[in-house]
């Protein structure tokens, strides 16, 4: 075991910390709210130049073939700077599926690596509550040898800035993963922001042709589960980074803010809150490592599922201690949109609730 960063990870971290802190200032992030799809296109090109978008693409297909530990290194830096981006979708979830598909999608993977394509997973449907192994109402039919998609999807995260969509659908009673360009005829997107300013969309598919069948049946379900579990790790790493930012911001504030003629950090009540936040964050990073270890050892799917669900349950509780107390420690400043801590709270809140809440992960553990 070696818990210190490898050379690649140190390189990733150095480039990430410098670039992200300079670019993703609070003002810049608030400014992105006015853009149509929330994406900082220029920064995304830099992500490509720095090699970040190729992390989970195998070397044989032109990527870096990095581990989840490498992904997490970068993801914590993104979280630390409160960057809401389609990172998890395009760098972790999509490459997992596109690489594992019956026919690996080399051209599209290359475009992802180059920063010109982004891919979103389109799964949730009206009436779903974290239904990742339930039949889909959306249908994929074979018509004249081509796939035709129809159905209503909800809350497709990162879809507004995506060039391609991976859609879950039912084909002859089987689960299918179908790839379509996002601007095809018959696709109607209603985009909106989430509370961390990441974007999502409800999407209606009306006889959408031109889809590629990536996988079906048990293979599709296995691929979906794996992609989601790796995505959950990437989101968890962003949460940990964001929690660590809260520690830095709050400890500095406690030294700087004066009330009753002394820095508020002198009050033991606040010292203990800070210590609780520290313990929760420390434990969160530890369980993140446990899940990464399972992923990078190619653990059997149930073993990975168990680690990931345990991790998500721990994080869901830890972030409440950290992000909510970060606001409390700031008094009135904490609830404004003009200070970092409320942004970190909203970011962690979104990351905690995507791809399963505590209840979902408890159910999943019980069923393993």
């Amino acid at each position: 075991m070696d818990f210190n960063p490898s050379d690649l990870q140190r390189m990733l971290l150095d480039s990430a910390e410098r670039f992200l802190a300079d670019r993703f200032t609070l003002e810049h992030r608030r400014g992105l709210r006015a853009t149509a799809d929330g994406l900082d296109t220029e920064a995304w090109s830099t992500f490509a130049e720095l090699g970040w978008l190729s992390l989970r693409v195998p070397e044989a297909l032109g990527g870096l073939g990095g581990t989840m530990a490498d992904v997490a290194t970068l993801a914590t830096a993104l979280g630390y700077n409160c960057v809401a981006s389609p990172f998890t979708s395009s760098v972790v979830i999509a490459p997992t599926i596109l690489t594992g598909a019956d026919q690996p999608q080399e051209a599209l993977l290359e475009a992802i690596v180059g920063g010109t394509a982004r891919v979103a997973l389109v799964h949730d449907e009206p009436g779903d509550r974290y239904a990742y192994d339930k039949p889909r109402g959306t249908t994929a039919a074979l018509r004249d040898g081509a796939i035709v998609l129809s159905g209503q999807k909800l809350l497709a995260v990162d879809a507004p800035s995506a060039s391609h969509l991976i859609v879950t659908a039912t084909i002859d009673g089987d689960l299918a993963l179908v790839l379509v360009p996002s601007d095809g005829a018959g696709i109607e997107k209603s985009p909106y922001p989430l509370y961390n300013d990441q974007r999502a969309a409800d999407i209606r598919f009306d006889d959408v042709a031109g889809g590629t069948l990536l996988a079906r049946g048990a293979a599709a379900q296995a691929l979906l589960t794996q992609a989601l579990d790796l995505g959950r790790i990437a989101d968890a790493a962003q949460m940990v980074g964001s929690m660590e930012a809260d520690l830095a911001i709050c400890s500095a504030y406690l030294k700087e803010r004066q009330q009753f003629g002394q820095p508020i950090g002198k009050f033991q009540a606040l010292q203990h809150i800070m210590a609780d936040m520290f313990v929760a964050t420390h434990q969160a990073r530890s369980i993140l490592y446990a899940a990464i270890a399972s992923a990078d050892a190619d653990a059997a799917p149930p073993a990975l599922a168990r680690m990931v669900s345990l991790m998500r349950i721990n994080l869901a509780e830890a972030y409440q201690v950290v992000a909510r107390q970060a606001i409390q420690l700031h008094g009135g400043y904490g609830i404004t949109d003009e200070y970092e801590v409320s942004h970190h709270y909203r970011h962690q809140l979104v990351l905690e609730k995507l791809y399963g809440d505590v209840d979902h992960h408890q159910r999943r553990l019980a069923a393993l």
Partner: protein, 399 residues
């Protein structure tokens, strides 16, 4: 001990309920149900006060000679509960619970005549100008200065977190009139018209999309000396009087009871694999714990209202209600959010008028999260949770 409420109160409740049903305009009620902020639009408070005033109910808890109803504490309790349950907007607390009581207790006859009828009628909104950028919990060291020059004060400084300051016509301010004495003794209570030259107001964007809180900059603002309430240098004791005045309101008991019911309704409407979440042990457990806490809080409030002999300092009881009530507000709103799972994450426009139609989304998904977000403030305003705990340990146990 007699735990049974006076049976005549049933008839009273019935009468109040009928009156509110008749008087509360549907649009006001619907706006309140779909409100994404912490309380309500300040203009709606005024609208509702004007309506209530026709029945003489705008400030029911005031002394009768100033327009109060003379109701008993239990009648007032029922009235407030019925208003909350009907989703009526709140009345303007600045006038009804804070500045009004200070004026009728410490103001001159001329001031009573001038301000109280206008406040009661809801002619204008009143902002509370106490907190400053450098002085929140440590309010006694506030710095905004008021220098006496002839028949006026010249006010300089800055206030912050002034709720609805952008809308208020008047503000009641704590200002430093004497920098030479100990901090508490140099503070005075001043009425300032918000459109006086030298005042600039900036609205502060909040984490839930609302921007009700304001910064108020005062640059050589001339205020007639007659706007001083009571005596110079007594402002601190008036402020303590007003913060102590309505001990039970800080429990937000009516909000808490209503929102527990709303959380239950959401748990019944939201399903997992076709099964309502109310039948899911995880959520049912959380909900019933909150129902238990709300029930306890209600009886804590009733003990306070019925003037139970309390063996601890009375202010410790007020802080107890505040601690329990504010934590409950957060827990309930956060449960409402958690019930929605990932569907709590969609950011709808803050203002109901600007929200896109979303037929695939339940109405409550538009407001549950912004309310949960801003509810983080409930352990900050009116004395933070840490300050309240400090008060309890000091006043109850002399620690």
């Amino acid at each position: 001990m007699d735990f049974i409420p006076d049976p005549s109160l049933d008839a009273f409740r019935h009468e109040i309920r009928e009156a509110i049903n008749a008087d509360l305009p549907t649009d006001l009620k619907e706006k309140q149900i779909a409100y994404a902020g912490s309380q309500n639009e300040p203009e709606d408070s005024l609208t509702w006060m004007r309506i209530l005033d026709k029945r003489g109910w705008a400030v029911p808890h005031w002394p009768v000679e100033h327009g109060g109803t003379g109701w008993s504490p239990m009648q007032l309790y029922i009235f407030n509960e019925e208003c909350t349950n009907a989703f009526a907007p709140d009345i303007c607390w600045g006038s009804s619970h804070m500045c009004g009581p200070v004026i009728y207790t410490f103001g001159s006859d001329a001031q009573k005549e001038r301000f109280l009828p206008e406040m009661r009628r809801g002619d204008y909104y009143l902002a509370q100008g106490f907190s400053e950028p450098g002085n929140g919990s440590d309010l006694a060291r506030l710095r905004t200065s008021a220098r006496r020059e002839g028949d006026r004060y010249i006010v300089n400084g800055q206030k912050i977190w002034t709720s609805s300051g952008y809308f208020a016509e008047w503000g009641f301010f704590l200002v430093r009139t004497d920098p030479t004495v100990k901090p508490q003794a140099g503070i005075s209570f001043l009425m300032i018209k918000m459109d006086t030259p030298g005042i600039t107001v900036r609205r502060i964007p909040q984490l839930n999309g609302e921007s009700d809180l304001c910064e108020v900059f005062l640059d050589n603002v001339e205020v007639p000396a007659g706007n001083l309430i009571g005596e110079e240098g007594k402002g601190w004791s008036y402020a303590k009087f007003l913060l102590d005045h309505e001990r039970t309101t800080s429990s937000f008991i009516f909000f808490n009871k209503r929102e527990v019911a709303r959380a239950r309704a959401i748990a019944e409407a939201e399903t997992q694999d076709g099964v309502p979440l109310i039948r899911n042990p995880v959520f049912r457990d959380r909900l019933t714990r909150l129902e238990a806490e709300a029930t306890a809080l209600e009886w804590s409030v009733l003990r306070e209202l019925s003037k139970e002999e309390f063996k601890y300092h009375p202010t410790a009881a007020a802080s107890t209600l505040k601690v329990a009530g504010s934590r409950l507000q957060q827990a309930i709103c956060e449960l409402e959010m958690d019930l929605l799972g990932a569907r709590s994450l969609r950011k709808f426009a803050y203002d109901a008028h600007d929200r896109d139609a979303a037929p695939l989304w339940p109405d409550y998904s538009e407001t549950v999260t912004p309310r949960a977000l801003v509810m983080r403030a409930s352990t900050i305003y009116g004395g933070t949770l840490q300050i309240q705990k400090g008060i309890i340990s000091k006043l109850a146990f002399d620690l």
